[in-house]
Symmetry: none
Subunit: 206 residues, 4 copies
Amino acid sequence: MVRPRFHKLAVARQEHILNAALSEFAAHGFADASLNRIIDAAGISKGSMYYYFDGKEDLYTHVIRDRLERLLGGAGPFPVPPAGTPDEFWSSLTELYLRLMKVLLTSPEVAALLRGWLSGGGAPSVSTAQQEAEQATLPWLLGTLAVGQEIGAVRTDLPTDLLLALVMSLGQVIDIWLIRQPPASADLDRTVRTLIDVIRRAVAPD
Amino acid sequence: MVRPRFHKLAVARQEHILNAALSEFAAHGFADASLNRIIDAAGISKGSMYYYFDGKEDLYTHVIRDRLERLLGGAGPFPVPPAGTPDEFWSSLTELYLRLMKVLLTSPEVAALLRGWLSGGGAPSVSTAQQEAEQATLPWLLGTLAVGQEIGAVRTDLPTDLLLALVMSLGQVIDIWLIRQPPASADLDRTVRTLIDVIRRAVAPD
Amino acid sequence: MVRPRFHKLAVARQEHILNAALSEFAAHGFADASLNRIIDAAGISKGSMYYYFDGKEDLYTHVIRDRLERLLGGAGPFPVPPAGTPDEFWSSLTELYLRLMKVLLTSPEVAALLRGWLSGGGAPSVSTAQQEAEQATLPWLLGTLAVGQEIGAVRTDLPTDLLLALVMSLGQVIDIWLIRQPPASADLDRTVRTLIDVIRRAVAPD
Amino acid sequence: MVRPRFHKLAVARQEHILNAALSEFAAHGFADASLNRIIDAAGISKGSMYYYFDGKEDLYTHVIRDRLERLLGGAGPFPVPPAGTPDEFWSSLTELYLRLMKVLLTSPEVAALLRGWLSGGGAPSVSTAQQEAEQATLPWLLGTLAVGQEIGAVRTDLPTDLLLALVMSLGQVIDIWLIRQPPASADLDRTVRTLIDVIRRAVAPD
DNA sequence: AATGAATGAGAGTTCATTCAT
DNA sequence: GATGAATGAACTCTCATTCAT
């Protein structure tokens, strides 16, 4: 866990450190990221880094959590879509996703970090970070799925975890595809609507 | 490229080495795998490893290719489904996938290797292996998608690369989910059919 | 570049490390020198070596520069001989060289290092060190040659680079010969004077 | 020592092997040359190499000796200049050197090998080769110097070994300079004559 | 006569982490 | 509260040599 000490630093200093870590993790992934490079870029001592964080994984965990929170915050509140007709549900989700993507497209490094984190796999040492981060993201998604199932917008014949994995995976593909080749701003709406529709078809009931 | 010398070894010895590599790569992914651990497990000297293979990447490439070939070989031929009605197309695919999964479930390590390989990302140094392997896998998938589009079983309003990414991603989720919690053999059929249906819905035309 | 950290070490410790490196480089040349042997002799860890220096070449560069500076410093200033008659020019050079050799003879290892460095050739990777060191040595020699040409003490019918190479080569032979079989101190003066005269004959005008 | 077995090979095969070794040694010098690369280039097995030669150094020794002999042979006989006037002595030497350089310029690899060998320095392990090769070359040079001294063309106030070193060093500089920037064939004569004259001045008596 | 499989020591380099100050 | 010196294990890769066949 991040030591509380870290948050006593001047905010600008915190930012500087987290940005350095963000760049490194986004560029190389967790395993191949180098703490040495991070502290060089951040301009802090190695001792300080270990004074603020428990270690490499702890830093990674914190960067992810912090950046995702900020991202989600910047996109405005992410309310679980209110109950209503399935059409209303999906259109509400689409708007949400559009907002999210617009923010994501402005921050390629966070996007890269997110991608690396979502793809998971690899080092078991990060599983802690994974689990924690998932615990921060999933409740919303789970809530949304639950609402969707209640109002008949989401199929109920699949285990929840599989449903979740399918949605996240499709979302990830769409994220990556959009980030790699961002459509002209004018096309973004149309494209995202089509892609959300793909998810809808996959998880809508018969 | 694997040196021909390797194939002159007793088959059991080849197997022993490849199994050691398979375990390591499956457990840690390419970047975090350790050649030292592999040679320890294989019981050969470092010099011998480099006598057989050009290096880490070469070994990785070979393990993947060898294991996938064996896997696909064991599952029988993978013909592109013949043209016909969309229903025939999808049911043909389902049978195919069932066969594949049955084999995959018998070999969790190959499955893990496959997973790590599919998720790609990470080290650019493995791109060679990636590209070669993709060149071995993609033509079939592309061919299948093309046939599906011809006979009206697959939508044509999305770019081919996105369509491909969606299908592969869904397939991967399903793979992982099935491998993690293999259903009772009796349920496998039903489950796979449902999951293939998810893919069908996502990529079928309106 | 040597990391500043190195210079924060106790001087005795710095000396110990540099001496270990000096011995190794003097005995084996750059390419065949072993960092492992150096750290063993220096009694420091491999990590520390890389904490102080950027790598093998960096260490080599530093040892050379440091030792040469010390050597040249110990021999006093090396002024370009002032304009005057050719006889004055050559006699001034002779005195200079005598001083230099007396210092050099007290430090066979630096002499060996210098020899290996002067002969250059070999690894292209050391070119950086070479160039830097040459940039430190050559200006003086070039300036001296130029003065000699101005006052008619040095021939002008050969390209400068060839002239330079001839002088350096003769000087090197003389260095090596003197170092290998140092004449009785009493004879040193006479011998050096004769040898400088050899150079003079080679490069004096008709 | 080269095993006699080597000379029982077909001459073409011997040539092939020696050429491969020549290229490698010329390109990397002794220490950094790789036996593995040599046998790859030569297309022979590692076992064979060790069947023909005692090891790396033995091969090096043999290549040098063989190539130099051939070079000297190709340039025609190298008679020790007959006694006569000093002018005749030096002009005879000049003609000899001209012939030698013309051959040398046609074979850059032998030239590179020669350069690396002459500069000596470095690995003590090659000293054997050095000594042997010197023993093949020196007698002629010594004889020539002796004749020169007899007829008053060469100074007698310097130890023979120093005289030798001076002459060889100057010759080497000239070799390297000529090889690096070969003058137009028309200029070669004039340039060589000037350079030989430099040597003459250095070692002629007062 | 000839092969090539096998080796182990060694190369230079990077790393996350510790801890005395 | 903060530092940075110091470490040793681990990394991938290359090498000349041996020897059973």
